[in-house]
Amino acid sequence: MPDEPARGSEEIPLPREVGGIALLYVEDEADARVMVAKMLSMNYPHLTIYHADNGATGLELYRQRRPDIVMTDINMPVMDGIRMSREIKSLNPEVHIIAVTAHSDTSYLLNAIEIGVHNYVLKPLNYQELFGVIDKVLEQVALKRLVGEQNQRILESEKQLAGSQRIAHLGSWEWHVDCGTMKWSDELYRICGLEPGSLTPDYQRFLELFAVEDRPVIERLMHDALKGEAEEDHRFCRVLRPDGSRRIVRVEADLLTEERGLKATVIGTCHDVTELKEAEEQVRLLTEDLERRVIQRTSLLQATVSELESFSYFVSHDLRAPVARLEGYCKALLEDCGDEGQGNCRQYAERAEHVAQQIKQIIDAFNSLTHYARCALAIGETNLSAVVREVAQELQQDDLQRRVEVLVAPGIRVRGDAELLRTAVSELLKNAWKFTSKTEYARIEFGRREQEGVSVYFVKDNGAGFNMKYADKLFKPFQTIHTPGEFDWNGTGIGLAKVHSIILRHGGRVWAEGEVGYGATFSFTLEPNPETGNYLTEGLSSLEQRG
């Protein structure tokens, strides 16, 4: 309908359709009362109608029902309409009263106006006139109700906003640039240690909330915002409370309207992040402390490693020379005492030479072991399955009589130093190969299993096995838990010690399980992403740089 004026989203309903409104009709003449009540309910089907026959009963009914509108005759027995209206008005000044009056009631009417009865209809009743007055009153009631509801909603949302600000420790403010006045939310006052509303906020007072050294920062932020240059930027500033304590706040500002300069309004927030910042600071301090300790311990370890290095240098060079000398004399002795030397001379010379050889082997083994602790790792992807297959092939080539079933789980790829891992895997396989030499159907299995979220790699055999009480001896150098001659022993006694060193260098763990006669399983884990190089020998610079 083109003639109808545009309405807001809150449409005001037609008075006759408004529900939830009640009307009290007080009239002492029974016929008129019934008739009028009937007409009213026909014309206003949504209106709740109560009726009473005099002022006293009317007042009682009003107390019970609290209707919005009271329509009353004036001249009535027991209590007249004017007295009743006065009583009702004192109960609720907002109530709408319509007086139904005869011309003779003029003196009463003047009283009625005084009381606040603003509407009247004349007797004898003209229904058109009556409905006109009721329509007007209903419209007022509906409008008042709407305004009341909206007010309520505004109050509620303000309450909610204030509550949220309080919970979040988020204060807000508004700066009217032209007059320099400001509005601060209650929470802003509280953040700053002030009683809400305890002062008249303005720009200067706002600045003074902050620590002196932070005020230029705030001024800068405010003026950037005013120029429309605030790039969703925030500042952390210190607020100085009257009690001397400090809070750390995150301040943000933004231009409210497009209008810049004097007429503009800048709005912003002030978020108390003291606890957050303190926690952050604590984390930073802890991290720093941790880093310092890492550096300290690393340098301790480095000192140990460098001692180990000079020790192994000593072993490898200084000890080697006299051993070689000893061996030289043994050889000389052997040569010179001839085939038929005195007594057991020749045999002794031979054995002494053998001992010198053993010492040399031990020195070599020692060097090879310390090498794994000192060398730099070259980390890359290694296909362990492929390595195992190659090593198994080599073992078969060197020992063609043996029939060993080798089962390799395919596609096991890990990150690590390819050469070192090959050495480790090869030692484990050699070990399995050796200890299945007396097993009829020898079987060696390589695979991976998941154990508590960690990949565990294993080499399992059905060979001689071992007694678990010797399990911790297995990985120590030069230890053997089998009786001499029980198995062909041609190694240096450091195979498993090498495995141990290499796995350790890869941040992993190695262990063995077995039972005599039922084979052994060697398992190991690896750090998923081991570090390249060797931080123990490369100095701390790389660590520090990372910090």
Partner: protein, 131 residues
Amino acid sequence: MAESYILLVEDNPDDAFLASRIIRKVCPDEILVARDGEEATELLQRMARDGSYHRIRFMLLDLKLPKINGLDLLLWIRKNDQLQKLDVAILTSSDNEMDQERCFELEVLDYLYKPMTADMLQRLLRHREEG
């Protein structure tokens, strides 16, 4: 004056004794022993002056020596106009791979581990003759 010499540069008397014993079994040459790098340098300089350095068949050089070590001595020899072609074999108890690499760069005949045996020396001589 002997026909030819074998120069043994060795500081340890036991090692010098053991090496000399083997050399005497295999070679007829006279053995000259220098007890450190400096002594060896002085001897070689003297022999370079009087021309007798030609008669050194080869030199057995220990690496770990007092004063001037074996590697520096070898370097000095390779830079000396007269001596640079001198045949040198290393005789050491060290298994340092870096040393070994460096020595082969400086064109040594061989790198022998102590104790030297007659077999080892004979192999060295054969190798030297074959060039």
